[in-house]
């Protein structure tokens, strides 16, 4: 048997969390060391998964499957495919950066323990191929995030943390009933009780109306998590009140649980229902894009602005998912990573501003470019990536989503494209107010980017530029799995993906010839 690398991805941070918990409070440097080592090791493992991933294989790789709760037919079933691969890597990369780069200021031990537990939960959520197992991880990540927001957040933290916890739990309530119903209804066709995602999706056929109900039970949970309009109201509160590390993780990977869940569970298990309800989701997605952009424009708090921009960005991902073309879905999958990188980095930068000035109000900041040009430059690159400027990663994802969606959801795409312009509006306007002009008294002493901060930001910016310039390695790995999913949908429902005209082969001309 080969090394169970996916199990290790879940187990290593969990063990790290345990170690941090039992280590003495009096040894803060050991605690920090253990936390950094385990998270870096997990990150290295995830990169190893990436490097040994079979590019052309659309199925699940590195699968590890063991029976767990036999009377209920539940197994420890982990696997990774093109859709989850980069989310796993992003999780693996983001956590060490957060642990190294963000200082919680108090109770380091508990903070690090919760963070590592959160990493284990996130890894588990992205790797689970068993409905029960997925639910376990999906629900367990609430607890560390609740404590991170509640314990290390700003003034309104208790309210925000509670709101976050309860909103998500309401969604989960429906999903749990949905999961159990799915398994029990599938039992009639499979012959035994199983919660295995692949087995149910491939063999069970639900009655049309049943599948629609079940799909909605799942979709509510994911829609809260995404969050989709009108279930998004927890997000600005949670983001604004969370500590910087919490915000980065929340935006970077946790929100992806919703969009990933829609793809992996919603569309895969109930293709007909997903197709049937696509207009609803497309509409809500587009409302989210426009509404998020407008709301972001109005914000006075920089962090809240970024939070609302997340609502808009995730709208794009949902749009791409429910447009049901291979380009749009590939774009959506890629955009999950892009958003994680750019919004994660933005939250880091906003956190740095807060560390320096103890305010996030746009009105209090002015002319920072003059005193901290490198900081402003870093902010500029990340912001442009978030806007979707060509040459940076955000452009590739958004472009794929829009071009793919145009074939099947033309008018929604037209409106969504306006969201791209609005993104430029709120981001550039905010940048202008914060960084341009003459610094006033309070901002004149704004410290320049420190070496340690630069070291944390550099991987973000590197990845942003790299995937923007050369997205091929990423797309090559995502696309086969997305195509397989579309084929699955076609087989189950008879849906025909509109054929895309083949790109015209441009012949290479030799130098000098016309």
């Amino acid at each position: 048997m080969s090394f169970p690398i996916l199990t290790a991805l879940v187990a290593v941070p969990a063990v790290g969390a345990l170690l941090v918990t039992v280590l003495s409070q009096k040894r803060p440097e050991w605690i920090k060391l253990v936390a950094i080592l385990t998270s870096v090791f997990t990150g290295a493992l995830s990169v190893w998964v990436l490097s040994s991933f079979e590019t052309a294989d659309a199925g699940f790789q590195f699968v590890s499957k063991h029976s767990w709760i036999e009377p209920w037919g539940i197994s420890w079933h982990l696997g990774v495919d093109g859709i989850s691969l980069f989310l796993v890597v992003l999780t693996g990369v983001l956590f060490p950066l957060v642990i190294v780069g963000v200082d919680p200021h108090h109770d380091h031990k508990r903070y690090l323990a919760w963070l590592l537990l959160l990493e284990a939960g996130m890894m588990g959520s992205f790797l689970s191929l068993d409905l029960f197992l997925f639910f376990v991880f999906f629900e367990i990540v609430l607890v560390p995030m609740y404590f991170l927001i509640g314990g290390w957040g700003s003034e309104g933290r208790v309210y925000a943390a509670t709101k976050f916890f309860l909103y998500t739990m309401v969604g989960s309530a429906f999903m749990l009933v949905g999961i159990v119903s799915t398994a029990i209804l599938a039992r009639e066709q499979i012959g035994r009780l199983t919660f295995d995602l692949v087995e149910i999706a491939e063999t069970a056929d639900f009655a049309t109306s049943t599948a629609r109900w079940l799909f909605f039970a799942f979709a509510v949970a994911f829609a809260v998590k995404v969050p989709m309009f009108p279930l998004h109201t927890w997000l600005p509160d949670a983001h604004t009140q969370a500590p910087t590390g919490g915000s980065v993780i929340l935006a970077g990977v946790m929100l992806k649980l919703g969009t990933y869940g829609l793809l992996r569970f919603g569309v895969y298990l109930f293709p007909e229902a997903a197709l049937w309800s696509r207009e609803l989701f497309l509409t809500l997605a587009v409302i989210g894009i426009i509404y998020g952009a407008i709301a972001a424009t109005m914000q006075k708090d920089l962090k809240r602005l970024v939070a609302y921009s997340s609502v808009a960005h995730l709208g794009f991902i949902v749009l791409g998912t429910f447009a049901f073309t291979s380009q749009s879905m590939t774009g959506a999958t890629m955009q999950m990573i892009n958003h994680g990188l750019s919004t994660g980095a933005l939250f880091l930068l906003v956190g740095m501003i807060y560390e320096r000035r103890h305010t996030r109000q746009i009105a209090d900041l002015k002319g920072i470019q003059k005193v901290a040009p490198i900081f402003a430059g870093a902010f500029m690159i990340v912001m442009l990536s978030s806007i979707g400027v060509p040459g940076l990663n955000g452009f590739v994802g958004e472009y794929l989503i829009l071009i793919g969606s145009f074939l099947t959801a033309r008018w929604w795409t037209v409106v969504a494209a306006a969201g791209v312009i609005l993104a430029a509006l709120y981001m550039l306007w905010a940048y202008q107010r914060v960084f341009h002009g003459e610094p006033d008294e309070a901002n004149r002493t704004f410290p320049e980017l420190r070496a340690k901060e630069a070291a944390v930001l550099l991987p973000f910016i590197g990845l942003i530029v790299f995937t923007g310039v050369y997205p091929k390695p990423m797309l090559d790995r995502i696309e086969p799995s997305v195509k397989a999913l579309i084929t699955h949908v076609s087989e189950k429902t008879g849906y025909q993906e509109p054929t895309v005209p083949e790109p015209i082969e441009v012949e290479a001309h030799e130098e000098g010839q016309p």
């Binding site: 767990w68 709760i69 036999e70 009377p71 209920w72 029960f132 639910f135 376990v136 991880f137 629900e139 367990i140 609430l142 607890v143 609740y146 404590f147 509640g150 314990g151 933290r157 208790v158 943390a161 509670t162 916890f165 309860l166 739990m169 309401v170 989960s172 309530a173 429906f174 749990l176 009933v177 159990v180 119903s181 029990i184």
Partner: protein
């Protein structure tokens, strides 16, 4: 004069050994305890705990025995020995064991140490076990009364606290009232069916009670019986005693009441409904449905607005009762059928897991209550995460489990019940139950906020420091360990619960 000699029924002493051990221990405590000077520190509790352990071991032996030999009735069909009764007996013995660990330190702290409380614990356990074993409504009533009367006295057992006295009296008055309902129900059922024995009540359907004839008498009996049982499990709208009694009673007694009392009451309810009244399941199941829903909703909603932790947990226990009733409702779909479905085993498993959870939770509340047992307000938990991080962490695990977070036993319990309900296509009640658990989660979050997040306020430092004596700490560790182990690897326990209920089914008429 020629009078038939009364011949007593043959008694299988060995099969009754779990009960007899507890009974013997209770008598020893009362008689020897009264005649001898005060026993050395901790000995009363240790003695009771050993009795509970012995009784539990015997239950395992008997369970093994009925697995091979099949279920059987004892003492002239008065009680039945099967997997179901063994499972319930074990659950009650576990509750008793943990309760002893908590009570020992508590009684010494409150300067109230003595054998009486333990003797009452033992008799309450006997009552609970008899309720679970009963095969006759009269026997069930006896068990119910033994349990209840023990609890009335226990609730009032802290002589120094006026609240304890009040709670005992309240419980007594309301409990007596509900017993009357129950007894009247038994009488009507007897009138309608001609027997009080479960199997004979089932058999009467079609002969004494026929489909053509009006069975109003039986239905009225069933209704009154349900009132009595719903009172015992503290289902809405028969729950009014619960917050007051839970708050006023000494905290360890509350813990024991919420665990052993619930196990006995739910075991009895499951048995009566599925084994005595399966023929009227279409009549009682909708009633259970309605009671379950309002119990869930009212329990969770009222829990949220409380400020006293004991009161909060009382309402949360009402909400948990609603959850178990969801399982009872699921059991109702299959009552009397060869394939019992998952309802009975899921409910049984839930009540067992909840018993351990609630004992652990109240153990922490006992410690935080400090001398005098009065610091049970939410504010008393403030800063526990700083002063007693291990205790706060244990409480956090227990509260998360009560909220039904995965990898804890609470999730396993909830999942089982939801699975049972969905398996019977009771989708609506499953969704309502899950949503109610979200509302209830808010309450557990409030306690956690108080422990970990809330800022200290002036006056906090004047409070007595929370002492953590060994025995209570052991109880908390055991409860937390059990919660996590079952949360991570629940397979064996699920199989055990299913096994327990199949033995009850396959061999009884």
């Amino acid at each position: 004069m020629n009078v038939d000699r009364f011949t007593g029924p043959s008694i299988a002493w060995f099969d009754l050994s779990p009960l007899l051990i507890l009974l013997g221990a209770a008598l020893v405590l009362l008689v020897v305890g009264a005649l001898t000077p005060k026993w050395p520190r901790g000995l009363y509790a240790a003695f009771t705990a050993v009795a509970a352990g012995a009784s539990m071991v015997m239950s395992f032996v008997l369970w093994d025995d009925v697995t091979d030999q099949g279920a059987r009735t004892l003492v002239a069909d008065a009680v039945v020995l099967d997997g179901f009764s063994s499972f319930a007996t074990i659950a009650i013995c576990i509750s008793l064991l943990l309760a002893c660990l908590i009570t020992d330190d508590y009684l010494r702290r409150e300067q109230n140490d003595g054998p009486e409380v333990y003797a009452l614990y033992l008799t309450a356990a006997i009552g609970g076990i008899v309720m679970a074993m009963a095969n006759d409504l009269i026997v069930l009533f006896l068990g119910l009364e033994v349990l209840s009367i023990s609890f009335y006295v226990l609730a009032a057992s802290n002589r120094r606290r006026i609240e304890s006295q009040e709670s005992g009296l309240k419980y007594f008055v309301l409990g007596g009232f509900s017993s009357a309902f129950f007894l009247y129900g038994v009488a009507l059922l007897y009138g309608g069916s001609g027997s009080t024995r479960y199997d004979e009540i089932v058999a009467s359907f079609g002969s004494v009670v026929s489909t053509e004839r009006n069975d109003a008498l039986v239905l009225a009996g069933v209704a009154l019986l349900l009132v009595g049982l719903a009172f015992k499990v503290s289902a809405v709208p028969f729950h009014f005693w619960t917050p007051d009694v839970y708050q006023g009673a000494p905290t360890p007694v509350t813990a024991y009441m919420a665990s052993a009392g619930k196990v006995g009451a739910f075991a009895a309810m499951l048995r009566v409904l599925t084994e005595a009244l399966p023929n009227w399941k279409d009549d009682w199941r909708p009633v259970v449905w309605v009671i379950a829903v309002i119990t869930l909703v009212v329990g969770s909603m009222l829990a949220v607005v409380q400020t006293n932790v004991k009161r909060m947990l009382a309402y949360s226990s009402i909400s948990h009762a609603g959850f178990i009733l969801v399982g009872v409702e699921a059991a109702g779909h299959r009552a009397g059928e060869p394939d019992a479905g998952l309802g009975v085993s899921a409910s049984l498993l839930y009540v067992m897991l909840y018993a351990v959870l609630v004992l652990g939770t109240f153990a922490v509340v006992t410690l935080v209550g400090r001398t005098g047992d009065n610091e049970t307000d939410l504010s008393s938990f403030r800063g526990l995460g700083r002063t007693r991080p291990a205790l706060a962490l244990a409480m956090t695990v227990l509260l998360l489990a009560q909220a039904g977070v995965p990898l804890t036993s609470g999730f396993v319990a909830k999942f089982g019940v939801i699975e049972a309900a969905v398996g019977e296509k009771s989708y609506a009640i499953a969704v309502i139950a899950m949503l109610a658990s979200v509302i209830a989660a808010f309450l557990y979050l409030r306690i956690m906020v108080s422990m970990w997040i809330a800022d200290p306020e002036p006056g906090d430092e004047q409070l007595e420091a929370v002492r953590v004596p060994f025995a209570t700490a052991l109880a908390v560790v055991l409860a937390v360990g059990f919660t996590l182990v079952v949360g991570v690897a629940p397979g064996w326990l699920i199989s055990a619960a299913e096994n327990a209920t199949t033995i009850a089914r396959s061999t009884l008429p």
